[in-house]
Amino acid sequence: MNAPENVPTCPVLALIVDGPLTAKAETDALRTLRSNVQSGLSGAAIRFEGIVRRDESDPGQAGALRPLAALEYQTYDPMARRELEHLARRIAARHRLHAIMALHSRGRVPVGEVSLVLVVSGGHRAEAIAALTEFIDRLKQDVPIWKRPLWEQPTA
């Protein structure tokens, strides 16, 4: 995954945020990013949300689906943030993005809440979609973040 050379600089923001990713956390982050993006160049902007699903397979029960209360994300700090940013920079250069923002949760994120927000903008749709797909694939390999299921307590 080598980045092409001589690409224009692209605003990059990568943050680890405690708990679920709320609208406020994102708005604050985007304010920094948007001021750097020149209008009229980008033809496509995509925002991806990864959300905690209720049903996870439980390895302790032969992979059977079991209702989840939350996921607990553990991050290896500060390497996690640095790898997140490093990944964002590589993806931005490879796909000639105009801006990229990645936010990831740390700690407890209840079912239905957002643990990952990725925002990319680029000249055309194809680049933006390819960047999105590749970012998430690499995230799951290269960024030191682990998740632990917190199972819903069976009602007595």
Binding site: G50, Y73, Q74, Y76, P78, M79, R82, H104, S115, L116, I136, L139, K140, Q141, D142, V143, P144, I145, W146, K147, R148
Partner: protein
């Protein structure tokens, strides 16, 4: 050495001690880890490609590990 996630669960600890000779490389540390902590074998990366972080950065198999370095086993990550 720091452990996380499933590796920490299997080691029943968030850090384990690995004894290696002076001037050992990442590759040698991984081999020693496999010997000294059998419960962690499932989680071990390929000793040649290496998947240890030394001082918070991924390090290749040839990378030397020095006294005082922070070494972490980065495996089976699952963000997103």
């Amino acid at each position: 050495m720091l452990t996380f996630g499933a590796a920490a669960a299997c080691a029943k600890a968030d850090r384990v001690t690995v004894t290696v000779g002076e001037g050992a490389t990442v590759r040698e540390v991984l081999a020693a880890l496999a010997e000294q902590h059998r419960a962690l074998r499932f989680a071990l990366p390929n000793p040649d490609t290496g998947r240890l972080a030394v001082n918070q950065a991924f390090a290749s198999g040839d990378h030397p590990v020095r006294p005082g370095d922070e070494v972490a086993l980065i495996t089976l990550v699952g963000g997103g």
